[in-house]
């Protein structure tokens, strides 16, 4: 696969690993947070942590929109699906996420709810056109990468004059989430994060400009990294150099797809359809101001929250769940009492386990063999 395989070259990886090992000062410790489910996945899937020296630690931040979706909103979606006449269209990632009482979309489907897994909003629109007697609600989640497709679907629905297409909007914003992590007093007090591996495809949409605030105001190094494992490693090398040289800048490793301004066309479509909510609950982080989107008044007829009169009831996570601390990098999955016992991918208790990108899920699925074995670093 062109533009994919080249960035997965194992030989280059080992060479980069050597460079990183040389660059990392033995007297320093480096803590980098990666903020992109895709990065968490790449790191776990390729076993990147085995290639890094011991004093570089990668923390998995809240970059997975499935993980940070509050239980209350999941309950809303399940209840919508259970209403007669409603067809709930959803990305597959959400099918198994448990709401309250262990109910999920896949279980609701088994009990007769019309839940349909779709690959794209285009499929949901098609269903609405082909089945005018059904009220088709699209369960919209995602960061800035996934928001433009929802915006396009709503613009198209408006153009087509569809009366049976709606969106249940749970889109969230990356800069606000990073802000919540570094900007809060707790964050400053707890274990510091030295730098961020910036999300790949969110950045293709929003550009590199929005990250300057963090670099300047909070003095954090930021490197936007591509999606492939070599991209991640190169970004780590660039971060280590920034720390060594006392810099805190925004650098772009993913130059083949990310520009300073991002995709203005996509941004404009999003601005046309959505506005920022005052506040939104993030699972594991609590209420975060100006962190999520809702449909503008002009699109009220397509807003599932308005049309179906949804009033979200907040639901609590298990009190022993340490997701909040894990998301902020203060604790590791193995530090949580529930990890691997009550909380597994089959029976997720908190946000870090519900999707394969969550810290705990990634560790369980790919990395838990490291808990039992003594540390084995790849000798360089």
């Amino acid at each position: 696969m062109k533009y994919v395989d080249e960035y997965r070259d194992g030989k280059l990886a080992r060479a980069l690993a050597k460079k990183i090992a040389l660059a990392a000062r033995p007297d320093k410790s480096y803590r980098f947070m990666e903020f992109c489910g895709g990065h968490t996945h790449a790191i776990a899937r390729y076993g990147l942590e085995d290639l890094l020296p011991e004093n570089i630690r990668l923390i998995h931040g809240p970059g997975c929109p499935v993980c940070v979706l509050p239980i209350g909103r999941m309950d809303d979606a399940i209840k919508l699906a259970q209403r007669p006449g409603i067809t709930l269209c959803t990305y597959a990632d959400l099918m198994r996420v448990p709401g309250s009482d262990g109910m999920s979309l896949i279980k609701a489907k088994a009990a007769g709810a019309d839940v349909r897994m779709v690959y794209s909003t285009l499929d949901a629109l098609r269903i609405a056109q082909e089945e005018p007697q059904r009220q088709v609600v699209f369960f919209a989640i995602g960061f800035e990468t996934t928001t433009p497709p929802t915006a396009m679907a709503l613009i198209d629905a408006q153009k087509l004059g569809l009366k049976n297409f709606f969106a249940f909007c749970n889109h969230v914003l990356t800069p606000a989430a990073i802000q919540a992590l570094v900007g809060s007093p707790e964050a400053a007090a707890s274990v510091p994060i030295d730098g961020f591996v910036g999300p790949a495809h969110v950045s293709t949409v929003i550009g590199t400009k929005p990250y300057h605030a963090f670099a300047e105001n909070y003095r954090k190094a930021v490197v936007i990294a591509g999606f492939e494992p070599l991209d991640v490693m190169q970004a780590i090398l660039m971060l280590v150099r920034q720390i060594n040289e006392g810099r805190h800048e925004v650098e772009n490793e993913y130059i083949r797809a990310v520009t300073v301004d991002g995709n203005r066309k996509a941004q404009d479509f999003v601005a046309r359809v959505f506005e920022v909510r005052d506040t939104f609950e993030w699972r594991g982080l609590g209420q975060v101001p100006f962190s999520a989107l809702q449909l503008r008044e002009e699109f009220a007829a397509f807003d599932a929250e308005k049309v179906f009169d949804i009033h979200t009831v907040a639901a609590k996570d298990n009190p022993a769940c340490e997701c909040g601390e894990i998301l902020r990098g203060v604790k590791k999955p193995v530090d949580c009492k529930l990890f691997g016992t009550l909380c597994t991918p089959e029976t997720p208790m908190g946000s870090c386990m519900v999707s394969s990108e969550g810290s705990c899920a990634a560790h369980w699925t790919y990395g838990r063999f490291r808990d039992s074995a003594p540390k084995q670093r790849q000798a360089s």
């Binding site: 696969m1 390729y46 085995d50 597959a92 897994m117 089959e346 699925t365 990395g367």
Partner: protein, 349 residues
Amino acid sequence: MTAPRLRSRKLDVKNGRVDLSHGSGGRAMAQLIADIFHDSFANDLLAQGNDQAVFDIPAGRMAMTTDGYVVSPLFFPGGDIGSLAVHGTVNDLAMSGAKPLYLSASFILEEGFPLADLQRIARSMGAAAREAGVKIVTGDTKVVERGKADGVFISTAGVGLVPSGVNLSGDRARPGDAILVSGTLGDHGVAIMSSRENLQFETQIVSDSAALHGLTEAMVAACGEHLRLMRDPTRGGLAATLNEIAHQSGVGIRIEEDALPIRPEVAAACELLGLDPLFVANEGKLIAFVALEAADRLLTVMRSHPLGRDAALIGHVVADDNHFVQMTTSFGGGRIVDWLSGEQLPRIC
């Protein structure tokens, strides 16, 4: 003596549909069985027209297996539910080293199912059986109301003969053993997904559904006493099968990502959908565990068989109290290859 040919109106295969009378035991059912199943499966035992087939068995051990087939869609690139049913049953027997002999086939038909499709499936089964050298010797037909079955469900049983001295079992893997796979991974699952409407991608990938007993016979003949076990990685893919065996044998498994044979198109389709080929079903492949000293010989034998051309050595068995299946990635890093929790779904995240 063959069953008397029915004199009633010919079955309208072209336009007809299954209805409840086809399952009620009366004339309509007899006609369906004769015109569609007997016609397609054609063998002496079936033609006797009894509720059972009676046959001699040579002395020795028998292998028996049963399977259910509910695949959707019923027709997919490279096969259909019928050929899949024959191949799958034959393969379950073949994995024990058995020579497959006889199959049974039980059909649950949904009211309204087109007879033309049923005939297509039956003919496909008959052809698959003939090609594999097995006979479908007995069967059953039931019809359920519209909505209670997905067109057709097929349930099979199969019996075969295990040659003396052959002892293959999932608990026989030992530290040091080599692990071989007979060919490319993920073809079947991707072929199925590409025919699912809501995923809509086009590809040349066809299902690898095939009967493997010719291959297994050659493998047992060449390496019999060194062969520990064979298993076909169907639902859950390579990952599920390796984990099953690790637990059954009480060992750990270490495989190399670079050694896994995967077609570029299959890899690409998995990338597009966010799937991992390790978890995708195969229907014409097998995994073999063999004593290390016989690994090269086994690989050569497999590669000289048409169904084993892309065979590869993918890893080894180790001692491991955790029974982990671990993979060295193409990067040199390590990761676990776990059981899948539930069916693998495409992802966006």
